[in-house]
């Protein structure tokens, strides 16, 4: 349909091209900032008044969203509790099959999570059990909204990460926050912008025949000024400079890796894509691999949200859930190994989120929507391998595990680690639970 020649004349991943791209991005970012200030009538010389203090440099928080509501009870399995097997006669993980973790007698991992066990043994994996927000809904969309906003009962239309981006550093920098797989409402701020990479294997602009990249770029940039008084038109105008900047900056990390499939690239984790020959294609691993390569570019990215879906296991859970968990474990394992190979282990924390856990009792072949669930925190900054919280199978709330740990404790630990501010962003003070080292 169109030539494969790249829109912006940046060769695939060469160091010089990467440097040029970053330079070009800085130029575009400056232009954008001026336009935004001009259009909203703020002091064009006072851009810094809109910025908070600079962020703590180099640290990156990676959030992995397991869309659909992951079944926490079959993720971190209670051991020696007959009530678990009473409620899960066909779906329960047999005691003998659960993976035991060093020093932990109360729980085991679902066997599909085997790649995570080594990180626990190294003290780089912790779990939160019974996590959720008080009063959260069994509706996907309301529960998601509650988790993203982390401000229940308030008319707050911003996300917890968006509010942090607004408070610290330059909120107009679209590379500070990156969403991979799909956009994330958690990144919505008043001013904060982010870059969405739906498919990291295809983040390239291609130029049609008969046009040069430069003239197309110039024409598209020209369509962005002057900005329309219509806010949606203005937003559409701004999508061009933001996109061109993002492509220029991120392409070195997102170009198809030469010889991909052979695993020849040194940046790739050693066992990336190591799936059983007949197994399903990995879903999370390529997204987290892109995240690792973006972190390696050191563009000032501080927050990455990676979204996958399919965890809404109302039916056929015995077949689908182990596949989902295996995908998650392989992805996280490969990512942590990549980050370690970059020498950035102390700079990166990964955590999982999911809108809710599932009903304790099974429904015949699956589980319906519930409340509390299990989430993980991983990386070298994890204080110690531990399970925080509880899941009390003796005191169910309408058939659901009751909420024992407030999600905002996990968020507070992560924001503290990023350098804060924390309590202002979350609208209250929450126990950090000793999850992360300072």
């Amino acid at each position: 349909m169109v030539s494969r020649r790249q829109f912006l004349a940046l060769g695939g991943g060469a160091t010089a091209a990467a440097a040029a791209a970053v330079g070009g991005t800085a130029l575009w970012r400056t232009q954008m900032h001026e336009r935004v200030n001009d259009s909203f009538g703020t002091d064009p010389t006072g851009a810094s008044t809109a910025m908070g203090p600079p962020a703590r440099s180099g640290r990156v928080l990676v959030v992995v969203q397991l869309g659909g509501g992951n079944d926490g009870l079959n993720t971190l399995v209670p051991l020696g509790d007959g009530r678990y097997h009473d409620n899960r006669p066909s779906l329960g993980v047999a005691e003998a099959d659960a993976l035991t973790l060093t020093g932990l007698t109360t729980h085991g991992l679902h066997p599909a999570l085997a790649p995570l066990a080594g990180w626990w043994d190294r003290g780089r994996l912790a779990a939160l059990e019974g996590i959720g927000l008080p009063g959260q809904s069994r509706s996907h969309f309301q529960a998601l909204d509650t988790w993203w906003r982390a401000a229940p009962g308030e008319a707050q239309r911003t996300g917890w990460l968006g509010r942090w981006l607004d408070a610290v550093g330059d909120p107009s920098d679209p590379l500070r926050a990156i969403a991979i797989g799909s956009g994330s409402p958690a990144l919505l701020g008043v001013e904060a912008t982010s870059t969405v990479i739906q498919d990291p294997t295809d983040f390239t602009l291609r130029v049609p025949r008969g046009v040069t990249a430069d003239e197309l770029t110039a024409a598209f940039l020209a369509t962005a000024t002057p900005m329309s008084g219509d806010s949606l038109l203005a937003a559409a105008q701004q999508s061009f400079p933001a996109t061109l900047a993002a492509v220029a900056a991120l392409q070195p990390a997102l170009s198809p890796v030469p010889g991909a499939g052979g695993g020849a690239d040194s940046r790739a984790p050693a066992d990336a894509g190591a799936v059983p020959p007949d197994g399903p294609a990995p879903v999370l691993a390529p997204l987290l691999d892109a995240a690792a390569r973006i972190i390696d570019l050191q563009l000032g990215t501080e927050v990455i949200v990676v979204s996958i879906s399919g965890f809404d296991t109302h039916a056929n859970q015995a077949a689908t859930h182990p596949v989902l968990l295996a995908d998650v474990a392989r992805g996280i394992d490969g990512f942590l190994a990549s980050i370690e190979a970059q020498g950035r282990a102390d700079d990166v924390v990964l955590m999982t989120t999911s809108e809710f856990g599932r009903r304790v009792g099974e429904n015949g072949s699956g589980t319906d929507h519930g409340q509390a669930s299990v989430q993980f925190v991983a990386g070298a900054p994890v204080a110690t391998a531990q399970v925080v919280g509880t899941s009390d199978l003796g005191h169910l709330d309408q058939g659901d595990l009751p909420i024992a740990v407030d999600t905002r404790s996990l968020y507070a630990a992560a924001l503290d680690w990023l350098g804060g501010p924390t309590d202002d962003v979350l609208g209250g003070t929450y126990d950090r639970l000793g999850l992360l080292r300072a």
Binding site: F141, P208, P226, S228, S231, A235, D368
Partner: protein, 424 residues
């Protein structure tokens, strides 16, 4: 709005854009006549719309082994119909309900069920909402997608019971958790015959126990449950708001929605008069700015440039997938997002790339290309369904590319991807 702008608005919002010279013919016919033909094509003697899947061979399917060509054929057939139908609003309504009553080929692997559902949505799109909601509830694709087939006496599965209230009829806050549980009982017993792809009812799987549901006693099956839902005061405002925002933009006045919802309820939830009222107030100035989504954008862009969306199905499908909106493959039960989600880097890149492809493929005598080559920016805007012209910034960007036959592809690329065609 003058008539030409009013008709272009109708084509953008209540259809899939315009073929070359179509707007001229509509101006001759007039706004009233064009609206009548859109809203009530049977009564106006408009030619019947061919079935989008008439040439798709769905016989002898093995649902466990469906080819990508067949899955893609379901999509291509529909895209082709969006572009060529003599009844664009009817096709738009099918598209609207598809985004409302979501199912997906990622879960429903039998394309016969997807086609059955899309035909049903088209047939019932403008009738009464109760009939539509009842048909959706026992539709094979929906029974598979939201696990109705797994919902049996003593093995209740709440998936459909929740979403039918939250997403399809009333909205969050208008029902309780108990209502979810009790309607799960009422919906039991339906399943899909995998050989034929048709839905069936098995009395021995059905729980006929009388339930208290949405404040009504004695609910025990699909009929009584659907009756209880459509009697709720929240139903008319919920559906009206969905339709009004899709046609008039997200900022449409809430008082107006209340008024339209009152009429909708009075009419016994008749969809056709509601759609007519919404379009009439839109033409009368109630329309607000709106970001379009990749499918209507791509169909409109292809029509204006004369590109046949069915000719290279694999490329078209890959492009729409990259843009984030492939018909019959919605991301989740909530459907596709609206608004600024379509201004992300990934969506913008996909739009620019599709624009380049469509511009390159436009024939030498295509009116949009002719105007681009001539540097006639007003003519170009009109050919792309924007008779009111481009924004000043867009004009400047297009001007920077110059004119002449050798520049026409570049000009057309930027024009198609421009903010003016994204904000409709």
């Amino acid at each position: 709005m003058d008539d030409r702008s009013a008709l272009a608005w109708l084509a953008r919002r209540a259809g899939f854009g315009l073929a070359p010279n179509e707007l001229d013919a509509q101006v001759v016919a007039g706004v009233v006549s064009t609206l009548d033909r859109l809203v009530d094509p049977d009564r106006q003697g408009v030619a019947p719309a061919p079935d989008p899947w008439a040439t798709l061979d769905l016989s002898g399917i093995d649902p466990r082994n469906v080819s990508n060509e067949l899955r893609g054929g379901v999509i291509s057939g529909w895209l082709g119909a969006m572009a060529t139908t003599p009844r664009p609003l009817m096709e738009w309504m099918r598209w609207f309900w598809h985004g409302h009553f979501v199912t997906s080929q990622t879960v429903v692997h039998d394309p016969r069920m997807i086609v059955t559902q899309l035909r049903m949505l088209g047939d019932l799109a403008m009738g009464d909402f109760r009939t539509l909601l009842r048909a959706v509830t026992v539709d094979p694709a929906m029974l598979v997608y939201l696990d109705g087939t797994r919902n049996r006496r003593h093995q209740l599965n709440e998936n459909y019971a929740r979403e039918v209230l939250e997403l399809f009829s009333l909205g969050i806050g208008s029902f309780s958790e108990d209502d979810v549980g009790s309607s799960a009982h009422a919906f039991t017993g339906w399943y899909v015959d995998v050989r034929t792809g048709e839905s069936r009812f098995a009395a021995d799987r059905h729980d006929d126990t009388l339930q208290q549901y949405l404040g009504r006693a004695g609910v025990h099956d699909v009929e009584t449950a659907i009756d209880a839902i459509v009697e709720q005061s929240a139903c008319a405002p919920f559906i009206t708001a969905r339709l009004a925002r899709a046609l008039l933009g997200p900022e449409v006045d809430s008082g107006l929605i209340d008024r339209l919802a009152g009429e909708f309820r009075q009419s016994g939830l008749q969809i056709r008069p509601l759609v007519r009222s919404i379009l009439e107030v839109g033409l009368d100035g109630a329309s607000t700015s709106m970001i379009t989504t990749p499918v209507p954008w791509a169909v409109a862009a292809s029509r204006a440039t004369g590109f046949d969306l069915t000719a290279r199905p694999r490329e078209v499908i890959n492009a729409l997938r990259a843009a984030g909106q492939l018909p019959t493959v919605a991301p989740n039960v909530g459907g596709w997002p609206s608004g600024p989600a379509w201004l992300t880097s990934s969506a913008t890149m996909a739009r620019v790339e599709m624009s380049g492809g469509l511009a390159a493929a436009a024939a030498i005598d295509n009116p949009a290309r002719v105007a681009a080559a001539a540097g006639d920016l007003d003519g170009l805007a009109d050919a792309l369904g924007r008779p009111e012209g481009f924004e000043p910034a867009t004009r400047a960007g297009l001007r920077s590319l110059g004119s002449g036959p050798d520049r026409s592809s570049a000009v057309l690329t930027v024009a198609l991807a421009s903010p003016d065609l994204v904000v409709v």
